[in-house]
Every structure is written in structure tokens, then in C-alpha cells.
Subunit: 155 residues, 2 copies
DNA sequence: AAAATGGTTCTCTATTTTATAAACAAAGTA
DNA sequence: TACTTTGTTTATAAAATAGAGAACCATTTT
């Protein structure tokens, strides 16, 4: 028997949905994300997702396939049951975080191209581009330290 | 006489546009961003932007207003001239970067809510949420160090 | 075999986003 | 005053997105 969601949880799911939506995730994906976090069991069948979120099967099918392709979601089965139990693959959050932080530093590449393409007509401007670029490259080198520092601090 | 853009610069502008587009910026904004970086003068009039990018005036007007509201772009005027010279406000990239890095840590807030809302039926799952959350909070505290470390390393 | 289950795929529609074109406003010029 | 320049606004149109609903397919179950 599936958990009955409190109003608080429903509302939290929606807010988590909006949060992700604003960061470029498609709306339903964000809400599935929220749902799978909030459920005490931390998992749900296809049908439950449809019911909890009141959306169509096709929407759920597409969203789940997308999330699985992105390695955000997995499913398992249970002996004797045909249904799939979808859950968040949260155990590799470190990889995820690393990628997210690296994302920010990706722009450095373009900055270098821009700097190379510019005549130095506005040295002050070019210098600022350079400084930003150097910062991004510095951050990139410091990412491993961040994880290391975190682990060290935990013990 | 406005600079004539080389093929290389045109292509670079487009790639910068796509880069920003993929990060949620509207397409034209990304290309204006690229244009204003790549131009030797690091500035352009409204009309020049329209011509360089072959887009409509209203599109440019909207994009520039948006970018000015976001404090990404400013304009100045020149004595005797009526035109506005738009340029990137790049000098506060530190603020910008800080906000971008903080963006990543925003999710911690939701994670705390989720953890509070969950019965502890799946302790392993909850523990992973907690760990991720702690990491985000750790990163948040380390942001100032990042800037400090960068400045230190520069001298 | 027929029916039920679990999920996928296809078609259509509503919404949102992005851009155009044309009218408009303001301010300077002849 | 009329005309030009410089941008803004206002309708619209075109295109991309998200999702609904129904048909569909592959397994089980009966």
C-alpha cells in the first residue's frame, strides 16, 4: 500500500520541481526527483508516479527514460512482482558535484579564444578577461582539494 | 567605421552563443555577449549589434534591456553623438562568480527539508542525502577561501 | 486463447519562447 | 515645421516544449 502524501510533502515536491525547472530541467523530471526523495521508501512504481503526480503515463515514461539515460534514476524489480521500482541513484553525488563545479570553469576555454582573437585595442578590457580566465583555471585546479578537505573535516 | 568581423570571430560568437544558450540564457543574449567580447573596441551601438548579428531591432532591444537589468551590460554615450555604446560590465566578475558558485549550494536548503520530512525508513538513503547536504554547506563556507587563495597565488 | 498488466510510442494540442515587422516616441537638424 | 536618427513598443508569426490521450506491444496470468 503506497504511502499517502501529506500536504507538506506535496508542496515540498512542487517546490523542488520548480527549483530544478529553473535550472533547466524539464518540469516533470524535477517533480519526479522531488517525489523519489520525499517518499519514505525512496522508491515508487511507474503507476505510483503517475498517480502521485497526476500526469500521463507517456509523460512519466519519457521523463524516466531521460533520467535513466542521465544516470539519475535506476529501477529494481522484486521477486514475484512485474513492476519496476524506480529510485534515485544518489550514491555517486560526488561525481555529480564534480561535474557541476567543472561546468562553471568550462568558459575559460572560450575566454582564451576571445583573448587570442582580440587586437589589444582595449588593454584594460583584455586584462579583465584574462583575470577571469585565470580565476576559472585556478578553481579547476582546486576542485580536488575541495573534496579532500571535506573528507578530512568529517573525521 | 565599424570593425569588419573575420569569419573566425563570427564563428566564435556563435559558439559562445550556444555555450550560454545551453546554460539557460536566451539565444540572442548569448550572442550579444560573444559579440561584445570579441569586438576589438569591446563596445557596439544598437545599430551595429542589429547589423552584426542580423537580427531585428526589437530582439536586440529586449535582449539589451534584460542584460542591463541583470547588470551584465551598460552603455555610455559619446560627446556630440546620440548613439548609445553598449559594453559588457565585466569588472565585477568576482561577484558574478561568487553567485554562480553559491547557486550550486542552494539545493542544500531543500535537502534539509526533505531530510526533516522523511521517516527514517531508509537510513542509508537518508544518510546519503545528509552527506550531500553537508558537502554543499562545506563548499559554501569555502567560497571566500577560493577568492583569497587566488589573489594570494597571483602575487 | 483471452484478458490483464506494465510500459512505450505516436499524434495532437496548449503553452511558452523567440523573433519579425511596423507603428510610435523623442530628440536633434535643416 | 518637416525630416532624420535612434531606439522602444506592440502586434503577430514561427518554432520549440511539454504533456495528454489513445493505440500499441510484449509479458504474464487466468
Amino acid at each position: 500500500m503506497p504511502e499517502i502524501l501529506s500536504e507538506k510533502k506535496k508542496e515540498l515536491i512542487e517546490r523542488i520541481g520548480v527549483f530544478h525547472e529553473q535550472r533547466g530541467m524539464q518540469p516533470l523530471m524535477g517533480r519526479i526527483f522531488g517525489l523519489l526523495m520525499v517518499l519514505d521508501e525512496a522508491e515508487a512504481t511507474f503507476e505510483e508516479i503517475v498517480d502521485y503526480l497526476s500526469v500521463s503515463k507517456s509523460a512519466v515514461s519519457n521523463a524516466l527514460n531521460f533520467m535513466q539515460a542521465q544516470n539519475k534514476v535506476r529501477y529494481k524489480t522484486k521477486p514475484g512482482k512485474r513492476k519496476r521500482y524506480f529510485y534515485l541513484k544518489i550514491d555517486d553525488w560526488e561525481n555529480d558535484m564534480q561535474q557541476q563545479i567543472e561546468e562553471i570553469t568550462k568558459g575559460a576555454h572560450f575566454l582564451n579564444e576571445v583573448i587570442a582573437a582580440r587586437k589589444n585595442e582595449k588593454p584594460e578590457f583584455t586584462r579583465q578577461l584574462q583575470e577571469l580566465c585565470e580565476f576559472l583555471e585556478y578553481v579547476k585546479t582546486k576542485i580536488p582539494n575541495l573534496f579532500e578537505g571535506f573528507r578530512k573535516q568529517k573525521r
